[in-house]
């Protein structure tokens, strides 16, 4: 997946655990893990909004585009 969710780094900066974020945002730890491990196929605007609100950041801080090897080759 060319889009990576930069959740690890932001959580480290904010000194917040994944469980705490899950509680604050109101989504399950399982769903947050899917997001963190890059298995998610899509993210709802409502989720993005809640994450930005609780982590006090912008969507661009959370989402990083990295070209895949195949795409880079093209």
């Amino acid at each position: 997946m060319a889009i990576r969710v930069n959740l690890d780094l932001i959580l480290l900066e904010k000194r917040m655990s994944l469980t705490e974020l899950a509680d604050r945002v109101g989504i399950t730890l399982a769903n947050l893990s899917i997001l963190k491990t890059g298995k998610a196929r899509a993210m709802r605007f409502t989720t993005l909004e809640a994450l930005c609100r609780e982590l006090d950041c912008q969507p661009a801080d959370l989402l990083i585009y990295e070209a895949d090897d195949e795409e880079a080759a093209n």
Binding site: T28, A30, L32, A40, R41, A42
Partner: protein, 211 residues
Amino acid sequence: MSRKNTDSSLSDGDDLAIDFDDVALDGQPLRSAMALDIFLAFMNVLAWVWLALMLIGFGIALFLATGQMIPGFETLADVPERVLIIILGVRVTGAVVAILVLYELRKISATLLRGDPFVPRNAARLRRIWITVAIGEIIFTILMFMVTVYVWNNPDLNFANHWFGEMTGLNEGEKKIPLRWEVWSLVLILIVLAQVFRQGADMREQEKLTV
């Protein structure tokens, strides 16, 4: 966020490692799904009883074919053994098809009770159901065609006013190929439903990975 996600362990083999259902059913299966499950279990028992009876009948037909007579079955003396055996073969096939279909339906019903029926396995189950019904119907058509041709070629056979003729429809006397369009219509509906389910399962998989 109005959507409520709760962790649960759906045990349908090809689901994700992390399973969760977001069914707004307060975690309780629908009452109609429970009623359906009970009804299918009841039908399953009936189908097995039906199969047992038909197998007993099949055994009796084979016994009669040896030229022996069983007290109480004298009226079957008018029915040629091969017709009797084939007709009971048709009934046994029908019972086997019913049992196989009910088995798959009960599996689908179980996923309904768990609150997540749109899994790839259910699409495969619907596919197996229409294939089973279609194969059963092909066997039915071939066997009944054999009987019909036999009756055509033996004009002295008269099943009119005979309980066996009434039970099998062989008393009608009209020449027709035993094609049951209603069953083939059902197969067509099942094919469409299986496709719809497959796409539904794909969409559900996407939904599961949407956070």
